[in-house]
């Protein structure tokens, strides 16, 4: 899959799931579109109104740490985010993203480059080749390890819901 999207540089480490999707909404029976309106609310209150379909997030270390809430993935996905590049991800967030078929890319070099050149990178475009593990920002090329094995199977099925459906249907 080739993705081409506008970059949001979220210049911080440890961006946790409470600021991505506030705890006060987690037990509200919101649908995904409603969730999207609160995406990153406690990090950047303007994010939800300015984000566009196809946008790409570049953040620092340990993105998505904290609570295991999946709305922190769902809200970004339905807000239009197509991929998240980070120096590293919190384990549950990474799994949740794969299970919802949202592209997450561990790429320390790209993250550091984007944060260092934040003024120029923010709002510019990134090009991602998920199969071959290539990523381009402002003409700089970066590589990452593409998904494989079970994780890729789940991603390719369109997420864990579809994957489980198929397994139940075939059993």
């Amino acid at each position: 899959m080739i993705l081409d999207g506008r970059i949001w540089v979220l210049d911080d480490d440890d961006i946790n799931t409470d600021v991505i999707y506030p705890g006060k909404y987690t037990y509200e029976p919101f649908g995904p579109e409603e969730m999207a309106k609160h995406a990153l609310e406690d990090f950047d209150p303007d994010f939800a109104s300015k984000v566009e379909e196809g946008d790409i997030i570049v953040a620092g270390r340990n993105f998505g740490c904290g609570s295991s809430r999946e709305q922190a993935v769902t809200s970004l996905k339905f807000a239009g985010i197509r991929a998240i590049v980070a120096e590293s991800f919190a384990r549950i967030y990474y799994r949740n993203a794969i299970n919802q078929a949202l592209v997450v890319i561990d790429c320390a070099d790209a993250s550091r480059f984007a944060r260092k050149n934040k003024e120029k990178v923010h709002g510019s475009r990134a090009r991602i080749d998920t199969e071959n593990g290539r990523l381009e920002i402002l003409g700089e090329e970066f590589s990452f390890v593409p998904l494989s094995g079970k994780a890729l199977e789940i991603f390719d099925a369109g997420g864990l819901v579809e994957y489980t459906k198929r397994r139940l249907a075939s059993s």
């Binding site: 440890d14 946790n16 409470d18 600021v19 506030p22 705890g23 006060k24 987690t26 037990y27 509200e28 029976p29 609310e41 406690d42 270390r61 340990n62 740490c65 904290g66 609570s67 295991s68 809430r69 999946e70 590293s88 919190a90 384990r91 549950i92 799994r95 949740n96 299970n99 919802q100 094995g149 079970k150 994780a151 789940i154 997420g159 864990l160 819901v161 994957y163 489980t164 459906k165 397994r167 139940l168 249907a169």
Partner: protein, 415 residues
Amino acid sequence: MGKTLIEKILAAASGEKEVRAGEIVFARPHMILSHDNSAAISKIFFDMGAKKVWNPSRVFIALDHAVPPPDWKKAQNHKIIRNFVEEQGIENFYEAGTGICHQVLPEYGHVIPGVVILGSDSHTTTHGAFGAAGIPIGRTETASVWALGETWLKVPETIKIVLNGRLQENVYPKDVILHVIGRLTADGASYKAVEFHGDVVRSMGISGRMTICNMAAEMGAKAGMVPFDDVAREWFDSLGITQYDIVLPDEDAAYEKVYEFDCSQITPQVAKPHKVDNVVPVSELGEVEIDEALLGTCTNGRVEDLRIAAEILEGKKVAKGVRLLVYPASRKVLEEALSLGIVEKIVKAGGEVAVPACGPCLGAYGGVLAPGERAVSSANRNFKGRMGCSEDTGIYLASPATVAASALAGRIVVP
């Protein structure tokens, strides 16, 4: 080369002879835990085309996150869960008021050593206190486990943390784990399993072990575990549980890293806003006034925690303008605290004792902060807005003793 605890546990849970860090296995849980999020999980479950959970005796649900429900939507959420439990014949369901999932699961005998407990809650790591592997997973994964009875897991590398020395008198397991997190940082154990070893751990009771394993999640750990020993054995004996296999790490296990701490040097610690690894000794904090003191939660809401706080509060009064909220971790804890006179001391000092549940820990109800307010809390997270208000001036995490002493002083002080 020997095996770590998680390698042995995951081998057993996946029916393999042996597994190594880095391998992906399909693990079958001894129990799968969820709470108020079970309504949302059940929706995904049905969206997956599933009809019946794979095994109703392996599903554990406790209502704890919004208890009693503060509005009709949350009440309805509970109702959906009760209906689901009824229709599916779920055997391990605990009504609102029984307590917080991580306290109730072991109290009612749903954990044994050497097994995998999967949980749709990030603090499922708590169950490592019993020599098991408590592994947090997401909601969709939980729905998939309900349907299939297994999930994919990567066998993690293990970090060994050796806690040596003797704790000073006003220092508690919470101070130790805050200190460790301060050193290792919020992602210091990301994707890894953690084993806790050393004199301090061996002499720690189950309650303290639950505190340190609970907070292993705040270093990003996949599981935080204390290897089974006599302390654990006594605890299981007291519940009449004797049927289990003892699984221990090998002496020559391959650890990714080993950290040693001399805990004799540790003084009471506090994690400053808004990150859990922003840890300093309370003595170096300076003047920090508080509006709310939260005692309880799955991190520090057990009898031992309430007792320590009650001893500090006894015969004194909470400072003017400070509210001391107390959420016992379970009804059993509350009953014992009542019979030991602990609750009386807390209430007479001005503490507001609530129903056993999560309370304002997740910021949804039951004592949230107002803009500009500050709290000292015995919980496990101090993220911005965690206690319900993104314009608060900060949550400070500390031991129950520090919380109690600070409630009396009106500012954060050394207990």
